[in-house]
């Protein structure tokens, strides 16, 4: 079910955006790939569709490009309904996953393809291709064939080709999928720079949450054809709408419990894992006895050998595992109930000799407003 509990997101959905998707549905032989999706993308925004495989994100993108015909619903771009338009009549261009550059054409010819198709004059094409080559800094490689280029260069050609026609909407299909990790982070920022420089509205599809967080202004998290949550990267991370989003984005400690006290200024959650109820320092919409999950990000869990102050939001456990990541370590703390709590610990000192190690008895604790109560 679509859960979008955030009031501002609902308000946003009612105001039509530059690109509006209304109750879009796509079925393949009885299988529902995209299930009544509503979405609004503002002009100039980089919007990411984030999800695992089979989440429907790629199908949704292909519906926008015109490669799939929706079973139902509407797609409006700049006020014009584009459902019935074939891909070659849509003012939308796509940068394909692994680029789909034409192997028999040079870099120039690839970029000029769409312009030629529009019947643009020869000198105008040459000028536009020149601008595009300059934009992606490939002037020297204009005469090369795609197979003579590196992965990063191919991606620039693909970007230049999809931007040459100045599309109203740019689609990116797993833009970094074919690049290695190091190049990826460099190209992510470069790509965003170019897109923002041109001010083109962009919808991208990715399964990589870091990529979505780095590049997008807003993200829609998708699962099984539904949009689970729409929001800015930090909203989605800090205020996940449900269990799926909380565990899909980053790592999280999910603790199942029931609402014990429901008051306007605070709530408490009774769990089997902690001796005292969890104290949440703000009110939420719920009722007493409602089953909920308490989501706590590992970097918000403090770990110490000495018992912290306060009566609530702490527990005793044993360090079972330590995963060392260089910049930080993740401590796996086993509670007496059998539940495991992850705690990130920034490695701010070199060779911390009196640090916590395997089988140490420790206390985990967190602040009153550090966790999120998930009602669904």
């Amino acid at each position: 079910m679509p859960v979008d509990a955030k009031p501002d997101a609902i308000a946003l959905n009612s105001a039509p955006g530059y690109l509006s998707i209304r109750e879009l549905r796509k079925e393949f032989d009885g299988f529902v790939a995209v299930d009544d999706v509503n979405l609004d993308v503002r002009k100039g925004e980089i919007f990411a569709l984030l999800g695992g495989s089979g989440s429907g994100k790629s199908t949704l993108l292909r519906c926008l490009a015109g490669f799939e015909t929706p079973t139902g619903g509407k797609i409006l771009l700049d006020g014009q309904e584009i459902n019935a338009l074939p891909p070659y009549e849509r003012p939308i261009n796509m940068m394909f996953q692994s680029y789909a550059l034409f192997p028999h054409m040079s870099v120039e010819q690839n970029i000029a393809f769409g312009l030629k198709q529009d019947g643009m004059a020869k000198d105008a094409i040459a000028r536009r291709v020149g601008e595009m080559l300059e934009l992606v800094q490939l002037q020297q490689l204009a005469k090369r064939k795609p197979h003579q280029l590196s992965g990063g260069q191919q991606q620039r050609v693909a970007l230049a080709r999809s931007l040459a026609k100045s599309p109203k909407l740019l689609l990116l299909d797993e833009p970094m999928g074919a690049l290695d990790k190091k190049l990826r982070s460099k190209m992510q920022l470069e790509l965003v720079g170019i897109i923002e420089q041109l001010g083109v509205t962009c919808v991208m599809v990715t399964h990589d949450q870091e990529e979505a967080m780095t590049m997008a202004t807003r993200i829609a998290v998708m699962d099984q054809g539904w949009i689970q949550q729409i929001g800015k990267p930090d909203d989605i991370y800090e205020q996940p709408a449900n269990r799926f989003v909380a565990s899909f984005i980053g790592s999280v400690n999910l603790i199942e419990g029931v609402i014990d006290e429901d008051l306007p200024e605070y709530v408490t959650v009774r769990t089997a894992d902690f001796p005292a109820p969890i104290y949440v320092g703000h009110g939420i919409t719920c009722y007493e006895g409602q089953p909920v999950a308490f989501a706590l990000r590992p970097e918000k869990v403090h770990i110490a050998k000495d018992e912290p102050q306060g009566e609530t939001n702490k527990a005793r456990g044993v360090v079972e595992d330590i995963a060392y990541f260089g910049s930080h370590s993740v401590y796996h703390v086993r509670l007496p109930s059998g539940a495991k709590i992850l705690s990130n610990f920034a490695n701010m000192k070199r060779w911390d000799s009196d640090g916590i190690t395997w089988n140490d008895e420790v206390w985990v604790s967190w602040d009153d407003n550090d966790g999120v109560v998930l009602t669904s």
Binding site: Y88, I92, L101, F102, H147
Partner: protein, 321 residues
């Protein structure tokens, strides 16, 4: 402690020497594997070809075998003399009959290849767009007729094209024609026969090429504003060029020398070099002239073969670079 340590070491040594021995032995095995086809080519292509070449420089003689030998030992002079007779070649050039036969063969082969391509390309294209299981069945159907004898398949066309044949009877039954059409024993029948028999040789390389075509390239073309037919012209067609060239060569080269089809279906006006060759060899018993006819045909065919090879090489280099 020393024994268990020494054992693995000696094992390693043994393995190393074994590998070394294998390596010494392997080049021999490798050249044997490569040598077999070369030996085959030598025995059944190079030597027969040299015999034909030798024959083409001989003279017709009423003996057994019916030609003069090139090298003769003259007892008086105590010397070998070589008789290199170029008369057969000059005759080929001088007699317009032969020149016409060559030109007509090439014309028939080119036209037939064109129509084979015209029919074969859409077939290969449609099959390559089918689901994988349907593809296999369709390709099977293309190849299946080749499992019966070539001669029988050509013969069957007589039954189809005859004045009393299937085509004429069907057309008459439909009331489209009053008189049976005269198709059999005309050049048209020869064209039909060649196109039919060589179609699989066109479809196979084209299919092999088109099935590899990345559908996302077409989607990218549509995305950039190309209508389906424009995407076909600008993407599919250029990318399938090597398949087109291969198919055309595979059809045209044997079609130039085709004998059975024009003989059985073509009638007397279908002038083809294969028939001329047959006539010289079997009717006139002029083996040297027949050999010269064959050599000239080979040289003519060598040009497109070389062009084809070069095109393929260039494509290969382009892919590797």
């Amino acid at each position: 402690m020393s024994t268990p340590a020494a054992n693995p070491a000696s094992d390693i040594n043994e393995a190393a020497t074994l590998r070394q021995r294998l390596r010494q032995w392997l080049p021999g095995a490798r050249s044997a594997v490569i040598g077999v086809p070369y030996l085959w080519l030598l025995l059944f292509f190079a030597i027969p070809f040299l015999i034909v070449l030798k024959l083409s420089f001989a003279k017709m003689a009423s003996s057994i075998p019916p030609y003069t030998s090139l090298i003769e030992y003259v007892d008086v002079d105590k010397a070998f003399t070589v008789h290199l007779n170029l008369g057969n070649y000059t005759q080929l050039l001088a007699d317009s009959q032969y020149v016409l036969a060559y030109l007509s063969s090439i014309k028939i082969a080119v036209v037939a290849t064109f129509f084979t391509l015209l029919i074969g390309y859409p077939m290969a294209y449609v099959i390559s767009r089918m689901s994988p299981s349907a593809r296999n069945i369709a390709m099977m159907l293309v190849v299946l007729p080749s499992w019966t004898s070539f001669l029988i398949r050509v013969y069957a066309w007589i039954g189809i094209l005859d004045s009393n044949g299937l085509v004429n009877r069907a057309l008459q039954a439909l009331g489209l024609i009053d008189e049976p059409l005269h198709i059999l024993y005309t050049p048209l029948a020869a064209y039909i026969g060649i196109v039919y028999c060589y179609l699989p040789f066109m479809v196979l390389p084209l299919y092999a090429n088109l099935v590899k075509l990345d559908n996302r390239l077409l989607e990218a073309a549509y995305d950039l504003g190309a209508k389906p037919w424009q995407a076909f012209v600008r993407i599919t067609l250029p990318l399938s060029r090597s398949g087109i060239v291969a198919g055309c060569m595979l059809v045209m080269i044997p079609a130039v020398g085709e004998f059975v089809i024009p003989e059985m279906l073509g009638g007397p006006d279908t002038l083809m070099i294969g028939r001329v060759l047959w006539g010289e060899f079997f009717n006139n018993r002029n083996w040297p002239l027949a050999s010269a006819v064959a050599i000239v045909m080979l040289v003519l065919l060598l040009i497109p073969i070389l062009l084809f090879n070069r095109a393929q090489q260039r494509e290969l280099e382009g892919k590797l670079a």
